[in-house]
């Protein structure tokens, strides 16, 4: 194969790649326009109908049903001694925001024990740390790796840098700037001079001496007891560091050598308003809760220093519980239900649909349990409350909205390759990557043809069109088969690419009378050569 042939192949493949990329984007833009435009038109057309139906009277509930609704919707609050109170809000008059919120408190037997203005509630309940302790959800108060990626995005205004300003003891100000490439902090003084580099082993005076922290995952500030300056809690894949920028110290708080850290959550680490602190009877301890991929959780508490490694009796507990470390002990609250969502629901939407169909429209039991955790991390049940969830609150099959139907129809024109990638890598991979600001993963999650049957049928139809077009124009079997396979793989974008790069004029063969392309000298059907034009008087060149 000589250089000319190689360059010819490179040129042809470049054209194909360029055209398919452009068409994939064009098809995607058309899909978005179709979905948005049709849903907007549908919304406008159905607005009047919706307004009329909203004016119809709603169904009246019986007293027993009202009671079930109230119990289900009320807050299940525990006192430190384990007593449960059901707290329900009486609500405000619509559009009267100046009204004070009133509440009713019932005991476990549904006897009213107190009612009045919420702020005058005589009881102080245990409060729980953040509920969002799940691997794929965002932390609202912390700085995650997703936010870090957003900062580094090459926008027209350039990327941004993460900086931690620190007031030094001598009144000067320092700034510690995170260097994402080397996973280090670089310290500056106000005059621009460099203080040094902070890494996993502490302060170093040169970049080469400093050891990197590792791949960043999460950051949050942390106030040690009595300190006015915060230290920073810095989480990597397997380690958790406490960084005190003022003292220029780094301390390894936790290391998980065998498994990645799944989540880190803080409790009472931020400074509390002193007035509010005085009024509180329950004294909470600063707590860091760490979950790893091996289903173990670690509680690191202060005042006094204490570490507890907790193993759960059931793997699925870890997603529906919360801790509160107080002066009186460590408490654990656990919510559960008799109808649990299938564990593999992310991987199998069919399984999830089956589960919903089985329980739709049926009341079910739900319960909440309060445990006290001793110093050996054993659980002691303090109280348990069970109630019936009204059927209206049960799982519901998502009715196919118009938008969803249009979306599924439009995405059927996408390439089946997206579905293949989805199957190969799994939904968890794409969810994690798209949350980490990976553009391609987000795109694939959005535009993959979920309705595989329609997508396959459409792909076959595209192949049929390509075949009809290509048969009279074919120059070689290999080329025709390649383009048919290409169209099958890329669906509409594949067909458009094929047409863009292969369309030629056809003529009627003077011998067999059927259509034939002009690229091939011989007719693809009868083998006859192209007709020689008749000589005319004005022709200057004649065959001799």
């Amino acid at each position: 194969m000589n250089l000319k042939n190689i360059s010819k192949y490179v040129e042809s493949s470049s054209k194909v790649i360029m055209t398919i990329i452009v068409f994939l984007f064009a098809v995607h833009i058309l899909q978005i326009i179709t979905v948005e435009l049709s849903s907007e038109i549908y919304r406008m057309l159905t607005k009047t109908k919706r307004d009329l139906s909203a004016a119809e009277p709603t169904k009246q509930l019986s007293d027993a049903e009202k009671r079930l609704w109230r119990i289900h919707l009320s807050g299940k609050n525990f006192l430190p001694n384990g007593t449960i109170h059901l707290t329900s809000s009486k609500g405000r008059t619509p559009s009267r925001f100046d009204e004070t919120e009133k509440i009713q408190i019932h005991d476990a037997n549904d006897v009213l024990i107190w009612q009045g203005i919420k702020s005058e509630n005589p009881y102080e309940y245990l409060t729980w740390s953040d509920q969002r302790f799940r691997p794929y959800t965002m932390y609202h108060q912390h700085f995650t790796d997703r936010r870090m990626n957003e900062l580094q995005m090459i926008t027209p205004e350039f990327s941004r840098v993460l900086e931690i300003p620190v007031g030094a003891q001598d009144g000067t100000v320092q700034v510690w700037r995170y260097l994402p490439g080397s996973d280090l902090f670089m310290g500056y003084r106000l005059d621009g001079s460099i203080i040094g580099f902070l890494g996993s082993t502490g302060l170093a005076h040169s970049k080469s001496e400093a050891r990197p922290f590792g791949r960043f995952k999460l950051q949050s500030s942390w106030f040690p007891a009595g300190a006015s300056e915060p230290t920073v809690l810095w989480q990597t894949s397997r380690r958790l560091y406490e960084i005190n920028f003022q003292k220029q110290q780094v301390q390894l708080v936790f290391e998980s050598p065998q498994a990645n850290i799944k989540a880190v959550m803080l409790r009472e680490c931020r400074p509390i308003d002193t007035q509010m602190q005085k009024e509180q009877k329950i004294k909470y301890r600063p707590t860091i809760r760490i979950g790893t991929e091996i289903k173990k959780q670690l509680l690191i508490m202060r005042n006094p220093e204490q570490k507890l490694t907790i193993t759960f009796p059931d793997d699925r507990w870890s997603g529906a519980l919360n801790f509160a470390a107080t002066g009186e002990g460590v408490f654990l609250i656990h919510h559960d239900t008799e109808i649990r969502v299938p564990e593999a629901y992310l991987k199998s939407p069919e399984l999830y649909q089956q589960w919903v169909s089985k329980h739709e429209g049926k009341p079910y039991k739900q319960w909440v349990e309060l445990y006290k955790v001793d110093n050996q991390a054993n659980f002691h049940l303090l109280n348990r409350y069970e109630w019936t969830v009204p059927r209206e609150f049960g799982p519901k099959i998502r009715r196919k909205s118009f938008r969803l139907q249009v979306q599924r129809g439009a995405m059927a024109f996408s390439s089946p390759l997206y579905d293949l990638a989805w199957l190969l890598f799994g939904p968890v991979f794409f969810i994690q990557h798209s949350q980490g600001n990976d553009f391609v993963s987000g795109l694939i999650s959005e535009i993959r043809p979920t309705n595989s049957l329609w997508c396959c049928l459409l792909s076959i139809a595209m192949v049929g069109i390509a075949f009809l077009h290509g048969w009279p124009r074919r120059t070689s079997w290999g080329k025709l088969i390649f383009w048919l396979a290409f169209t099958l793989v890329f669906n509409l974008a594949g067909l458009l690419t094929y047409l863009a790069l292969n369309h030629t004029t056809v003529i009627k063969c003077p011998v067999c009378g059927r259509r034939r392309g002009l690229i091939q000298v011989n007719c693809v059907r009868c083998g006859a050569e192209l007709p020689i034009p008749e000589r005319r008087k004005t022709d200057l060149i004649f065959n001799t």
Binding site: E11, S14, V22, E157, G192, P230, A500
Partner: protein, 229 residues
């Protein structure tokens, strides 16, 4: 010798646009940078430490932030204008036949045009960008200095201009109709720009630009070597 003669000719034709781009970028960019310096909004120490004990992370833009859009737009504009000047204007002035009937290979003509475009980008945008960066790196002018990554991102913007140049060249050379594949060169350049601007990994952004350039160069070379003018 022939190449250098062609290069001089292309540079001579590109000179007005080079100068215009350099002046626009220098004037607007310089004004914005000076405003950022004089305005004092960048002096975070006063802003964040006057109300102690306020504490928080700062997601800081570089002092070169306002220059970014100017650099990007000027670069894209220069790419478009040079592409039009090198590959479209010869159609209108009917000078293609004069050019390709010189005793040089057609590819040499293309390389001379590309070299002229690269030089134009280096001088009119690259040099000015480097000057702005070094200006903002002086601690006496700005409290905090920009990081090296911003400098690299600026060069990415310059390279995006070259991608637009190649896209315009392919579109200009194509014999297809406007509503068919003729526009694909520019459309592909747009895709590469989007892929770069929404990326947060510098390496991936460079990879997208290099792959895009190779994909555009290959059909350009083939077209200029084989098409009739």
């Amino acid at each position: 010798m022939r190449f250098s003669a062609l290069l001089r000719k292309e540079l001579r034709e590109s000179l007005p646009w080079m100068l215009l781009a350099a002046i626009v970028f220098l004037a607007i960019g310089g004004f914005l940078l000076r405003q950022a310096q004089l305005g004092g909004w960048y002096d975070w120490s006063e802003r964040y430490f006057s109300s102690r004990p306020t504490y928080g992370l700062q997601y800081r833009h570089s002092p070169l932030q306002p220059i970014g859009p100017v650099l990007l737009l000027t670069s894209l504009g220069l790419g478009l204008v040079l592409g039009v000047r090198h590959f479209w204007i010869p159609y209108f002035t009917r000078t293609w036949p004069f050019l390709i009937h010189r005793s040089v290979d057609r590819k040499t003509i293309f390389w001379a045009k590309l070299a002229a475009a690269i030089i134009a980008f280096l001088i009119s945008l690259g040099a000015v960008w480097a000057a702005f960066y070094s200006y903002s790196c002086d601690p006496e002018r700005f409290t905090m200095l920009p990081i090296k990554r911003v400098f690299i991102e600026g060069w990415l913007f310059v390279l995006l201009g070259l991608i637009v140049y190649l896209g315009t060249a392919l579109t200009g050379l194509s014999k297809a109709r406007w509503y068919t594949t003729k526009i694909f060169g520019l459309a592909f350049a747009t895709v590469i720009i989007c892929a770069t601007i929404f990326e947060w990994r510098i390496g991936w952004a460079f990879a997208a630009i290099i792959i895009g350039a190779v994909i555009l160069l290959s059909p350009i070379i083939d077209t200029i070597s084989n098409r009739e003018f």
